[in-house]
């Protein structure tokens, strides 16, 4: 049973998340072409590459600084708002995570919440605006709820992934109210937000990475 997350688990989570994104990057770009430049998939490919590099064997075992470094490298991807938001999320997680080699479920919940807080400081995007926040916010809430019920990381991540997916699906019925997409408004109806779909893929990958780690 996964009780603690260390660098090994994080590496597995990031690798699985990267696989999810690589499988779907063309679909992500296609979704982005509804209201954007159609480059979200290629941005996400560069983001997951940073995630894999951050958890590379040479990097620090200290999860706080590993996540902070990851945040900055993701921001450096220069992929517009999506890489800036994800980078901020990881660096906020790093600030909130204790400078330890492993963290338990409650500590990971606090780190996720720190990531959300960091985003709130730099962006006015709120759930309901049809952005990645529509998947990220429910994922973090679900994780926190499970952590407070003393569930383990695996169970909490499964709930978070499910909540992220539901959040991403819900963006189909939303009209973009934030960022450049808001200026195409109604045209975005019926198609999910690519950033929210990416978040769902990442959390699904995190869960699968944990499952895999458990099997080996």
């Amino acid at each position: 049973m996964t009780e603690e997350i260390g660098k090994f688990e994080l590496t597995q989570m990031f690798a699985a998340a990267a696989r999810k994104i690589r499988e779907q990057h063309e679909y992500l770009s296609q979704l982005d072409s509804v209201a954007g430049d159609g480059d979200h998939g290629s941005t996400m490919l560069r983001v997951v590459q940073c995630m894999e590099e951050a958890s590379h064997s040479d990097s620090t075992e200290n999860l706080g600084s590993l996540l902070r470094d990851l945040g900055w490298s993701v921001m450096g991807v220069d992929g517009g708002a999506s890489s800036a938001l994800l980078g901020t999320f990881f660096s906020g997680m790093g600030d909130a995570a204790a400078d330890k080699k492993s963290i338990d479920c409650r500590e990971l919940a606090r780190a996720f919440e720190g990531g959300l807080r960091a985003i709130a400081k730099v962006s006015r995007a709120k759930p309901g605006d049809k952005t990645m926040m529509d998947a990220l916010d429910p994922a973090v809430s679900a994780f926190r709820t499970m952590a407070s019920l003393d569930k383990n990381v695996m169970q909490a991540m499964e709930e978070a992934a499910t909540a992220a997916q539901a959040g991403a699906d819900s963006t189909k019925n939303l009209v973009a109210r934030f960022g450049r997409a808001k200026f195409v408004g109604e045209k975005t109806l019926g198609s999910p937000d690519p950033g929210a779909v990416s978040i769902a893929l990442l959390f699904r990958g995190f869960h699968e990475g944990l499952l895999q780690e458990r099997r080996t």
């Binding site: 450096g76 992929g79 962006s123 960022g179």
Partner: protein, 335 residues
């Protein structure tokens, strides 16, 4: 369909276009760090430095305004995409060296603002004196009143670069540069019209759709739709509709002094721009509004989009003097 543009590799547009700019204007600009445009001759120590950031594909904006009298650094993003915060911080750190402070000028677009906010946080943490001004000039069609945060950044940033750059060149304090930048920003409004779409140079896709007999007022800087889609109108009629909205939004009264910038979007001929400018000038005269300064040309474009932006700004003697101050920026030379 094959994209018809003179490029080499759609994935290497940014480094190639920057290299071209630096080679064409070696006495004004050079490239530093990672895709950052800086002055060829750095500003003297002890003076405030101006930094801007933003996506590419809008040439000559924004990097064409780096030079004596205007910007010190331009942090360039990929086509239509904001640069990430790490490179913005890199530029801020370079700018802060031997300087009493840095003014960060940011166009109000979600991605740019995000990177700017992260940059400001990092600067604060490192005790670098930075102030930020958001340029929010672009009004929407049919909205006479709006909140400043709803307005997008269009060509108005150029006026802010010009006057704030002039104050910084004088050796004034960061607070004074901020005051002038804010005064210019608050008194500037722009409105865009498009009549033909453009092709995204990386993807080859058109960035919006418009009927052959249509035009659209209220466009964003990247071809984001406005709400004023209508049948094509003449230069005089179009200028009339747009100027009415601009004057009302800024609350311009008879007897006031205006700067007007007419900015071509990339595929609008100078012939058309002069004909539109003639209309603008006549309308202002009829309303007893003084056209004290003007600029007509391509300053911030959207590839080969056809259309233009009209920018109006309320000017006082202080702003006029700063607007007239010398600049050797490649795409805005004043003597």
């Amino acid at each position: 369909m094959q994209m018809k543009k003179f490029i080499n590799d759609p994935h290497h547009l940014l480094p190639e276009l920057l290299e071209g700019l630096a080679l064409a204007f070696p006495r004004q600009v050079r490239l530093v760090g990672t895709n950052i445009v800086a002055r060829a001759v750095p500003k003297a120590a002890g003076k405030v430095r101006l930094v801007t950031l933003g996506g590419s594909g809008h040439e000559p904006g924004l990097s064409g305004f780096v030079g004596e009298g205007m910007l010190d650094y331009s942090v360039t993003g990929e086509i239509f995409a904001a640069p990430g915060a790490p490179r913005c911080i890199e530029a801020i750190q370079m700018a802060a060296k031997d300087s009493p402070g840095v003014l960060l000028v940011v166009l109000n677009h979600a991605g740019d603002v995000l990177s700017a906010n992260i940059t400001m946080q990092a600067a604060k943490k490192n005790n670098i004196p930075v102030q930020m001004v958001l340029t929010r000039d672009g009004i929407s069609y049919g909205q006479n009143s709006d909140s400043a945060n709803d307005r997008r950044g269009l060509v108005g940033c150029m006026a802010v670069y010009k006057v704030a750059g002039a104050v910084a060149e004088q050796g004034d304090s960061l607070d004074e540069c901020l005051r002038i930048a804010q005064k210019m920003e608050e008194n500037t409004r722009s409105l865009a019209v498009a009549l033909r779409t453009a092709t995204h140079p990386s993807t080859g896709h058109t960035i919006f759709e418009l009927g052959d007999d249509e035009m659209e007022i209220g466009m964003g800087q990247h071809g984001e739709a406005g709400t004023g889609r209508m049948k094509m109108k003449s230069a005089d009629e179009t200028a009339g509709i747009m100027l009415d909205m601009l004057l009302e939004n800024l609350g311009v009264a008879a007897g006031e002094n205006l700067l007007v910038v007419l900015n071509g979007s990339g595929a609008t001929t100078l012939m058309e721009l002069w004909i539109v400018f003639r209309a603008v000038s006549k309308i202002l005269k009829a309303r007893n509004i003084n056209l004290v300064r003007s600029a007509v040309g391509e300053f911030i474009t959207t590839q080969e989009q056809a259309g233009f932006q009209i920018m109006i700004a309320r000017m006082d003697t202080e702003l006029v003097r700063l607007w007239d101050a010398p600049s050797n920026a490649p795409y805005f030379v004043t003597r």
